[in-house]
Amino acid sequence: EPEVTQTPSHQVTQMGQEVILRCVPISNHLYFYWYRQILGQKVEFLVSFYNNEISEKSEIFDDQFSVERPDGSNFTLKIRSTKLEDSAMYFCASRRLAQQFFGPGTRLTVL
């Protein structure tokens, strides 16, 4: 069964550094998402992406965040200058119809 994949599974970075989190959505899906989960808290929506542009974003998704679909398979989340509070699990999701399918997550630790 097709799955959403994410790399890396765990990333450690220094405060102020740029990070790029990568996702490969399910191949025939058209809608893509990023969510984050700070340790011990609920999952929060960041951004949705359709037809090569952002279709919706939350208040969390400020100017330090950007998303891109650089080719036909990858979907990336870039954090330009990481802060301590960006430490979280980041989930990518995709859908073709209504149900969203989630990847295994990337655990980002900012030191």
Partner: protein
């Protein structure tokens, strides 16, 4: 935005017991999904159930959309059922696309 409340927040049961987890939401939805977050942090899709009833093995779910709630039933609990169960919804008004998650029910199944 739409509000999602899950109850109970914590539940401790003995192996073999049955449980019912509840999800209340504040507005009409066009998507409702139940997830199990395992100890490694992965979100496992359990059900896509914006209305009606579904069953998958020992798990079943019912959503009564007109009364704005959903129930997840776990029968004959096993220790591997332990983890956090999240309900997530998508508001059907205003073109919203991202899922709004509840805070989850933390389930512990003791041997």
């Amino acid at each position: 935005g739409i509000q999602v409340e899950q109850s109970p927040p914590d539940l401790i049961l003995q192996e073999g017991a049955n449980s019912t987890l509840r999800c209340n939401f504040s507005d009409s939805v066009n998507n409702l999904q139940w997830f199990h977050q395992n100890p490694w942090g992965q979100l496992i899709n359990l059900f896509y159930i914006p209305s009606g009833t579904k069953q998958n093995g020992r798990l079943s779910a019912t959503t009564v959309a007109t009364e704005r709630y959903s129930l997840l039933y776990i029968s004959s609990s096993q220790t591997t059922d332990s983890g956090v169960y999240f309900c997530a919804v998508c508001d059907s008004g205003g073109g919203a696309d991202g899922l709004t998650f509840g805070k989850g029910t933390h389930l512990i199944i003791q041997p």
